[in-house]
Each structure stands twice: as structure tokens, then as C-alpha cells.
Homo-oligomer: 436 residues x 2
Amino acid sequence: METLVELIAKKRDGGRLTDEQIERIIRALGAGELADYQMSALLMAVFFRGMDDAEMVALTRAMLHSGDVLDLSSVPGVKVDKHSTGGVGDKVSICLAPLVAACGVPVPMVSGRGLGHSGGTLDKLEAIPGFRVNIETDAFARIVREVGTCMIGQTARIAPADKRIYALRDVTATVESIPLIVASILSKKLAEGIDGLVLDVKVGRGAFMKTEEDARKLATALARVGTLSGKQVVALLTDMSAPLGRAVGNAIETREAIDVLRGEGPDDTIACTLALGAEMLVLGKVAQSAEEAEKKLRDAIASGAGARVFERMIEAQGGDPAVVEDPSRLPRAPEAVLVYAETDGFVADIDALEIGLTAVAMGAGRTRADQAVDHAVGIEIVAPRGAGVRRGEPLARLHVRRQADAAAVAERVASAFRISSDPRAVPPLVIDRIVA
Amino acid sequence: METLVELIAKKRDGGRLTDEQIERIIRALGAGELADYQMSALLMAVFFRGMDDAEMVALTRAMLHSGDVLDLSSVPGVKVDKHSTGGVGDKVSICLAPLVAACGVPVPMVSGRGLGHSGGTLDKLEAIPGFRVNIETDAFARIVREVGTCMIGQTARIAPADKRIYALRDVTATVESIPLIVASILSKKLAEGIDGLVLDVKVGRGAFMKTEEDARKLATALARVGTLSGKQVVALLTDMSAPLGRAVGNAIETREAIDVLRGEGPDDTIACTLALGAEMLVLGKVAQSAEEAEKKLRDAIASGAGARVFERMIEAQGGDPAVVEDPSRLPRAPEAVLVYAETDGFVADIDALEIGLTAVAMGAGRTRADQAVDHAVGIEIVAPRGAGVRRGEPLARLHVRRQADAAAVAERVASAFRISSDPRAVPPLVIDRIVA
């Protein structure tokens, strides 16, 4: 049998690793027989040489089985989750999961935290007083069964190999590798015990994938590997050149998600929620078509059924369910400062990356995994893309701890807005739909 | 300033690292700010992307200055060393250094141990009873000054970054990278305080570089980077398809080197010693031409001056100098077993790699750096390339601990000989001479 070093050399030289070899590597990593410095060399070799579908399936499976696979057999129905590759202002999971659950599709969801310019669902949920994201697997299954959805963090027992490998990739310049991204996402999601998965692959400045070409490669790889892994998978490519919706920050994003559940909320956040939700309902076999599914979702908003599921989920996870009826119970920064337009015109573009980085600098996000976030601060877009503005009218509202914090932030936020003299068409939210 | 991860990404994306960036990386590695797993990812990126001359010079310098640079200013003359990329039966350093020193060129030599199929000078020298290769730098300089040469192992203070990086490369499939090989060799050699360096870049089955193309790339890179680092450098490409000389094993190789100093020894070992020695004498400015240099070397053999320097060096390093006059004082395996030809014909080829690996299996070498070697065992070629043999005549002599050890070894050694019905030309030893 080859040595582990020979397996690194095989990938380095463009060879194909067999299922057994990939399984051996992940097992050896867990057992301490393959050192971190060997794994990182292999990760860099994968960066250069890539992996074919069979290798990605094997890597996903090996990482998945490095930990527990949640047993949701006690939950009736076709379990479907959604994963977003991350962006700025992307609070969709928070309204989507309760809505889809209200329509009869169980949604077991393991989410992540914000890192770099992009936010994380767990941080947003933790803006709700008392809300706990660390839930043991038994309780997780029970909440999904009883409430329809539960949203937790990756526990030490879910795909530990992914945790280990992700930490290495982060510090070895091997994050941007499609096979590694695919295995990382799918190993965690498959560990949830799901039957189907809808992927929101974000494209643009504020996304991990800056170009449509790269995003399409990732989406097709995710769809193929997920399908080869025996799951039903649909991916949507969606625009992330500007922030999604109006709110960027933790509590204010949760509030926007509650707005959607209450039949309010910005058009693009609603559209994104409905598009992803429709796919989930069809995968979950409670709707025959996207049209039928969208009607069910709109009904669940109108009837308040989605909001009720969210309240029950918050309660089951130790939080204050009254925030749904009274969002003012969410933490709120003491000062609100407006950022004004300096010229007349139309908002042609808002740089999602700059808005995201500014929010991090305000304390809403983190640059290292061990940092705490301030749930109350954030940036609220007042004039979205397409809006006409006059000099002196507000573009954005900053939620800050002190007035003194606002000056530098205001300048950065203003610079993220591009004002044109003519109105420009807002790019479509859903760029493409990809299945294997 | 870029983060260290950004520097890894820069090389990964094909960028050029500046002198300052390379220096920072090596400093951070030493200070524990750059982890082994980050260094190994960078090493793999260098494997794929390479380095230009300026990067190799900077890497060599940074690794060199990670430790002490020996101060040989107290030694008069132009100090010249020789480095071989390693092969099977390559005992040339042991006769070469004393001969060159006898001709007036000081030779400060830091050597290595055998690993894998190739032997190491230190192991061969340690076959001499009492011989010590761990000599402190002060004593090293004194012995070079008083005797003309001293041969020691890499101390913890010589290029510690190289030690660390080499250990990583060995287990991360990043050994075979020309920039990394060049910096590893030159950083150690430049730490010796030399003025000139002659490189013996071996080519063929028994060498690290299997093809002339690869060997030529390495030799030219070594010559260029060594010259850019301010040293006089000449590289010879020499044949390593068959073992050099007759002896493969520690004590028997030392004995063959003593034979050369005594005017005996096989033609190819003598030729290799004279070719490299001539370059060293010219670099050392004690000869104007290779012809004049070769005459001086032959005179130093004939007069016994080389043998006397070797005796003095052995004495200075704690060993028994009487081995030079009486090589029977070297350790000797208790049993000698002959391997016989099975057909009539001519020895067309001897597989150096197979002979080297067989010697390791006999205990003469090591597969892991922490293994001990048996100095007494080895393989002696009786019928070298070009020799005519008849069925039943000896091809080789095995020096073993017990008769029972010989059977499996004999079969492997016999299989390494290729016997042809017609005599074949023996390839030339020196394939090319390369300067920057």
C-alpha cells in the first residue's frame, strides 16, 4: 500500500485518488497519522490539480463520515435545507426556513457564522435575546419534528474533518478551490440527514465568487456532486453585486427577515426567499410546480403561518418569541446617523463588498473566527438601486454606538454608492437555475 | 504589509516574491509565526510555480542567515568545497578533500548522511573507529587551518531553516523542486564560509535526477544562483546509471577512497576524483588549467601527500589514522558471499538504484532519518561495466553478517546486472561541465 506521502505526490502529479485513498487520507488526518503540514500540502496540490466528480463525491463522503450523520428518520416528510455561499445582507435563511416549514417541508438547518465581509446566520439569530444555536443532536431532531425547523451551529460532532480542513485552508491560501469548497459545503449539509438541498450560489463583488463563470462552475459542481451523493439538489445563481435587501448588520437583518414573514420587507429579499422556497417546496413534494409553491409561500406569509413557526422555533431554542410581533425588542444601537447624497441622480450601484467590509469595521462582523460581534450596529440602505435621489437626501442610515463613530463610516458608505444621471436597469436577482 | 497568507497566495497565483517577502517568510518560520502547515502549503505552491533566479538567491540567503555563517577568515587561501547530489557508491568526497587540501586549497566540508538508496559521506567516515563528525565550529575552523580539510555534519547552528524545511519537504512530496533543492544545497554550503564550490550533479537511475534534462536544469540553476550569491561555482554532470567504483557500503567505500589516495582504486572513482579535484584547484587558484591541476593531484597521490592529510584529518577528528596504512582495521562483515554470472557475455549495465536499495535492505543505509546503519555490510562489484564474464564467474561479492542473509540479496544483486552477448561501450563519466 502506498504511503501517505505517495498519495500527496500522486495528486501533485495530476493523478486521480481512488475512493479508498481519499477515505484513508481523511481517516489518517483524524487519527493524527497525517499531520496538518501534510494535509496542507495536499490541499495546495488539489488547488492546482483539481478533483474529478468521483473524487469530490469520495471526499464529501469521507468528511461527512468523519462525524455523526444526524438521524431524522423520526421526522416525517422529505427533509430539505438551503445553503447560501454567503454575501452581504443575506438574511434569507431566517425567514425562509420557517416559511418552508409552515408549508409542510421540514427544514433541518446547520448554519455558520460571519467571517470577513460576509455575515452569518448564527450571529443574526443570536441578536434575538436568549436564542441558543448550540443544540444537541437529539433536541435538534425533536425541534425539527415538533416545530418543522431548527437552526443550529456546526457541533464538534458534525463533519469534524471539515472543521479541521477549513481551519487549515483559511491560513494556507487554499480556500478558493472548487473541489474543497464543494466537499466542505456538502459534507456539512449531508450530515444534517436531509433528502434535498437548494443552493444559493451568490455572484458578484459581495460574493465569494466574483464572476458568473466561477459561480457557475461552483454551482454545477455542487449540483453534480450532491446528486451523485444521492440527494436532490438544485442551485440558483443569484446576484450579489449590491447588498441583498436594505439591512446589513445582525439585529437589523433579523428584523428585515421578520418583516418578510409579516408580509413586509424589501422586494429583493422577498423575491430571493420565494425563489429558493419554491425550489424547496417542489423538492419537498408539497408542490408540483414553482408557481404552486410560490402561492403556498405567499399564503403562509399572509396567514401568519410562517411567523408562527418562527415564534415556536425561537421559543424551542430558548429565545424571546415576542420579537416577531414586536421587533423593537431586538437590540438597537443608540445612535442613528444618516448618510446623504452629494448629487442629484439615480442609485446605479451599491458596492456590496465595501458595505460588508464597513459593517465589519463597525463591529457587526469579524476578521478572525474568535472575535465577538456587536449585534446592534449596522448599515441600512435607504435608497436602493434604481432609486432617484436629490442632493441632501439620505442614501443610508448608520446604526452606531456613538455619534463619533459615524464620520469615517459615513464616508465609506457614501463611497459605496454610485450615482448616475440616468436611471439604470437593476440586474435580475436570479441569474440562472442549475441542476445536475 | 501583506499577511503571510497573502504571500502564500501570491506565490500560488504565480507571483514573484520580493527579497523582503522571502526574508520575512523564513524569519517568521524561525520565530514560529509561520506554522509548518503554512510553510508546506507554500512549498507545494513553489513546486508548481517555481522561482526565478532572484527569488532563489533571496531564499538561499535567507536560509543561510537563519543560522551561523562559519568564519574561516583565519584560514589563508581560497576555500573551495565540493557537493554531490548523491548516488550509489559515491565515496569521492573522502579521497577528494584530502587530495585537494594536499595541493594547497583548504576544503571546509559539511556533509550529509545516507537516506533512501543513496549513501552519505558521514556514515562512511564513521566506519573509521573513533571518527567524530560532530565538531564545534571553532574546532572546525582550526582543523581546516591546521590540516587543510575537515569533514563534519550539519550542526544545529548551520542553516536551521534548511533543516526544518527539508524535514517538511520529505513528508509533503515537495522534495523534487529545483528552487527548493538549489536553496537547500547552497544555503548549507555557503554557511561553510567558502569562496568557491564545485558541484557534482549526478544523472541516471541511481541519482536523484533520472534524466539528463532534469540534471542539466538543476546544474544550471545551482551554477547561476551560486554565482549570483557571489561564489565561484562550476558544476559537472556525471553518470550515475551504474554505481561509481566497485564498493557500495560504508566501510568498503571508505576503503576504496583510501585505495585512491594510495594510487590504487577503480578507474571511474579515480576519474571522478581527478575531474572534480581539477576544478577545485583551478577555483582555488593553485593551478591555471585543468591539466596542471590534474598533474598536481596525481603527484599528491604518488607522493602520499593526500594520504598524509587524510591521516591528520582522521586524527584531528578523533579517529584511528592507522586505517590509511592498514585498511584491514576498518570494520569487516564476517561473511563474504559471491554472486555468479548465469550466462557468458559482457556486463552491459548495472542498475545503480537496485544496488543502492539492496544495500539499504542489507543494513548499509536507512529508510528513515533516525535509523542506525551497519558499517560493515555492503556490495562489492567484481565485474564492472564492460567486463567479459563466463557463466559461473563472480559478478559481485556480498559482505554480510551471516551466510543466511545472502540468498535473497544475491538474487537482487544478480538481477541488477545486465549481461549482453556483445561488448557495449561504457558511457562517459563526465557528461558536461556547466558554469553560469
